[in-house]
């Protein structure tokens, strides 16, 4: 039976239905053309702006190329010290082996405080990003090829949406990072989980973790998923004594799994065994502030918005302050307006001009790393618990997404780029039900828009906005066509859908208004004085969307049973 016939028989009319002609080889669902086409765009972007991350990676190339392995994590000539796990360092070492003589002469491999290099180095490094990203295309092609015939169209839409994602274009090919390659490994583990090859899944995940430790945020979900599906076996379990609990555990599998994970870790870290404390201090720099360079659009952005609004409200309406004091004890709330004014003065000296700094709240309680850690953990546990009872692939994806959400929303020192940890697992999940689409749309639009300030140059304005816009048009349209309505009852909250659409459209207004403000800010001294205001607009507004998306998904994840009934 060809794919075409399968599609025609499926209950909900998928796209392309009426024109299906049985071609000799069937549809290919190939990403080949997408790769070539995006390649052209990426090559045209070579002369574009790049961030300091470019010099970071250039410095790592130099360090790994010139120094013996033991010194990699001690080298600190440049401020951009090596702070990724060893696999990534090995990766940089491999890349440095391919540096041609002309690029070397250009200053690509010099260990200097501030990189001095020309167009050749840029070309070379951009090409390494493009070349390493091939892995993403291969992994997703495997994902398409291994999906069952009836789901091929959906898988194709998902896969192409990921490879063409504006996020990768903005962050990898303009801003400069290697996320395409790193996420390829993570996606490989998701593909393995789908095929229920758990050892492979564990292998890929631990490899990804050893490339970039940000994936640690997803660890609870992987741990629970593998534990429940691979290690524990409840079949035929009857509790007679506590000894029986021992039998739930499939010991052979546990050792196999442990072997795989520990094996990867050993390969990764063994050469640095004697320098572990130094390595770990580089990987986990706890001295950094609550927010990264500027406000990531997460819960803390809203928290600080509340703080600002409250400060103004309290200072303008003293009665309000007295009212609140009757309810709240002065321990968590400033006892008098003078205290507020004092704190404001103190803050003015520090400022929030978008620098990596600690943030002090005026009215609301201060946030410590422990608070964020506990909150993250709490929401991750809530996301992971259902996996213990139902470890289907769908649940796994949902829990993975929610883990990403929890860490993004409540984490300490979150990067706005970390939204990828949410969007990528969510892309795989969204095709299972139409009701997830609104939530998905919200998080993608808000997440992508929140990346815009990364590229602050005027040249990039049209590229980033138009590309994101057309991506949204294409994929929201295609997803709406491809996704089935799996549950018989169509329970959708239409009001929220409309609200979501309004929100997304208003993002266009936000982006244009902010750009206009940036262009004209020389004219109005108010705008010049408050340059961080535009960044704050972005993070506040985007955080609404992301928080809304999280609430929507959490609701569906926890309280909607037809959605999670597995098809298998």
């Amino acid at each position: 039976m060809t794919v075409g016939e399968q599609l025609e028989e499926s209950p909900e009319g998928l796209i392309l239905k009426e024109e299906l002609q049985p071609a000799p080889g069937g549809r290919r669902f190939s990403l080949w053309n997408f790769w070539i086409c995006s390649l052209f765009l990426k090559l045209l972007l070579v002369p574009d702006y790049y961030s300091t991350d470019f010099d970071v990676h250039r410095n790592w190339l130099a360090i790994t190329n010139a120094l013996p392995l033991r010194e990699w994590y001690y080298e600190k000539t440049s401020q951009w010290t090596l702070d990724y796990p060893p696999f990534f360092a090995y990766f940089e070492w491999v890349l440095s082996q391919f540096v041609p003589a002309a690029v070397r002469a250009d200053g690509c491999l010099d260990i200097v405080p501030q990189g001095v290099f020309g167009a050749l180095t840029v070309l070379f490094q951009r090409c390494t990003v493009i070349a390493s990203e091939v892995l993403l295309f291969v992994v997703l092609q495997v994902y398409i090829n291994t999906s069952p015939p009836a789901e091929k169209t959906q898988s194709f839409v998902v896969a192409s949406s990921i490879v063409l994602s504006p996020m990768l274009l903005i962050v990898d090919h303009i801003h400069f990072q290697y996320n395409g390659f790193l996420f390829a490994i993570l996606i490989a583990s998701i593909v393995a989980a789908r095929k229920r090859k758990f050892l492979l899944c564990a292998f890929f995940y631990s490899t990804a973790l050893c490339f970039k430790h940000i994936f640690l945020y997803l660890a609870p979900c992987y741990f629970m998923f593998l534990l429940r599906t691979y290690v524990l076996q409840f079949e035929g379990f009857r509790f007679k004594s506590y000894k029986d609990l021992f039998r739930i555990i499939h010991w052979g599998r546990l050792f196999k799994l442990g072997g795989v994970v520990l094996g990867v870790a050993v390969v990764c870290f063994a050469p640095f065994a004697r320098d572990m404390p130094q390595l770990l201090s580089r990987l986990f720099p706890f001295s950094r502030g609550l927010t990264h360079a500027y406000w990531a659009p997460n819960f803390w952005a809203l928290y600080s918005l509340c703080d600002k609004v409250l400060t103004v409200a309290l200072l303008k309406v003293p009665l309000f302050h007295r009212l609140i004091l009757k309810v709240l004890s002065p321990k968590i709330f400033p006892a008098s307006l003078d205290i507020i004014r004092q704190r404001l003065k103190k803050n003015a000296n520090h400022g929030t001009k978008g620098l990596v700094e600690d943030v002090y709240f005026v009215v609301l309680p201060q946030i410590t790393p422990a608070t964020t850690f506990l909150l993250t953990l709490l929401y991750q546990v809530l996301a992971v618990l259902p996996l213990l009872f139902d470890a289907s692939f769908k649940r796994f994806l949902g829990s993975l997404t929610l883990c990403g959400f929890a860490s993004f929303l409540f984490g300490w020192h979150v990067h706005e780029k970390a939204i990828m940890l949410v969007i990528i697992p969510f892309s795989f999940l969204v095709v299972y039900d139409r009701r997830l689409l609104t939530s998905f749309k919200l998080v993608t639009t808000a997440g992508y828009v929140s990346l815009f300030p990364l590229l602050y140059k005027n040249d990039d304005y049209l590229i980033k906005t138009l590309y994101t816009y057309v991506w949204c048009v294409i994929y929201f349209f295609s997803l709406a066509k491809v996704i089935r309505l799996s549950s018989s009852v169509e329970r959708r909250v239409f009001f929220l859908d409309r609200l979501g659409i309004t929100y997304m459209c208003s993002l266009i207004l936000l982006v244009s208004a902010v750009h206009l403000m940036n262009v004209m800010n020389w004219k109005y001294s108010v705008l010049e004085k408050y340059q961080f205001l535009t960044l704050m607009c972005y993070s506040f507004y985007c955080s609404f969307g992301i928080l809304g998306s999280w609430l929507g998904l959490s609701w569906l994840f926890n309280f909607d049973e037809p959605l999670w009934q597995s098809l298998e």
Binding site: D459, L462, I463
Partner: protein, 563 residues
Amino acid sequence: MSSEKKEPQGEDASSKTKSLSKLQRNKDEAAPEVEECFYASPIYDFLYPFRSPGSQWVTEYIIVVFLLIIKSAIGLGSYSGFQTPPMFGDFEAQRHWMEITQHLPVSQWYWFDLQYWGLDYPPFTAYHSYLLGKIGTFIYPPWFELDASRGMETDGIKSYMRFTVLLSECIFYIPAIVYFTKWVGRRKKQSPIGQFVAAAAILFQPTLMLIDHGHFQYNCVMLGLTVYAINNLLDGFYAMAAVCFVLSICFKQMALYYAPIFFAVLLSKSLFFPRLFNIPRFLSVAFATLASLFVMFAPLYIFGGVGNVLQSIHRIFPFARGIFEDKVANFWCVTNVFFKYKTMFTQSELQFYSLVATVVGFFPAFMIMIFYPKKFLIPYGLAACSMAFFLFSFQVHEKTILVPLLPATLLFTSTNWNNLSMVFWVNNVALFTLWPLLKKDGLWLQYCVCLVMYNWLLGNFSFITPRFLPKILTPGPSISNIAENYRRRSLLPHNIIWKIIILVSYLCMLMIHVLEYTIAAPSQYPDLWVQLNCTVGFGCFVLFWMWTYYKLITLRNKTIQEL
């Protein structure tokens, strides 16, 4: 919702199934002509998922937005005259014009400091510069400060100037092309996706993209206005066509290359067809032409008198400059290797000879258009006429190839495989002849990417779809249903002689590129590679010119279906 999807709607769906069945039949018979000529191209593959009637709006979005993205990405590169003081290049010229139109009275525009990029385009360019300069000054005055801003190369001015080209293109060029392809497509009963592919093929033309957004000029305005004029002719609005064409000429005098054909069509439509002596139409066309010319030049006259108008005309037609300046792929430059015209003849003799040669070149096309003013012949007539100008007239720049290239590219609306192959070929040749210019501008990366992208998008490289890759990579079409034919197609005519000519010309181009890259030109002939480039280009252009004449003559009694 689902019921909509299940039931194919009316006419569109039935025509689609028809076209598909025809396509299928053609595939089976391996017949030379197919309904969707580009069906084995990646661009068809990309648009394929959006071909149902309900989703065609997405197709338009995709084409136009991706076009803008690619153009902005090209704009990231350098431009003509980047960091080459004291004169800089075309970018500085355009910026300078915005600067002087801002700060000087109209009477000074054509007189101010002529040595430093004095204004030498017709008044519509000046008004266009004035408007864009006003907007720019509102945004950031130092960009266009008189004298102080000379040679300004900040990021801000660059992105603003790039943006103005995009804006002009969005207003003048893109809607005109889309309208044209839809008009022709509807008359030819082409499927919607076929129309969109044709529009994309015209819009993604690399030559215009690189000159306008890389090198930096506003050719899109002139060309777009010409297409507006053509569209008006197609719809039978003859006075409006005249107005649009006059505007086009008043933007850049190069549009005069088209003038004989517009004149022929308008004249014959008002004097001979469809009835003799349609005096009201004749009067309206004449009035519209004169009135729009008058309006265009009126400000010059009002603020500066007759002298100002004469000065502007003197600036627009610089006959004092030589028969050619840089190397260009036309008759005079190429044969100059054998006959040194500049020493053999005086300037005025040369002017006379080139005039005679040009008139002889375009006159047959002019006569054909007088006697057969058919709508579908207009692109052929324009191509033949403007190519004659390009090949034989006085003071031609290499960038002027854009003028004959536009009507040639409009023939992408044809569904005849042979025509498409010829048009495609001349596009490649034209881009190739611009290589010396683009190399000088530092646009080698953009040149290579655009050349390969255009060929690949339209399926010219489908034949190299690799087979040696592992099966999981499955190169080929992503979702369209044409796996088998995909590999073999590349745009070559069926005629064996043309096939050989085209392949040999491609080989020559490749050889010249390789030679230029590997071997430095000998010191006594520093321009050897450029001269070879021009010679190959000239040969191809002459052949293409012949071909347009051949088509003009054979198609004169046919209908639009044969376009």
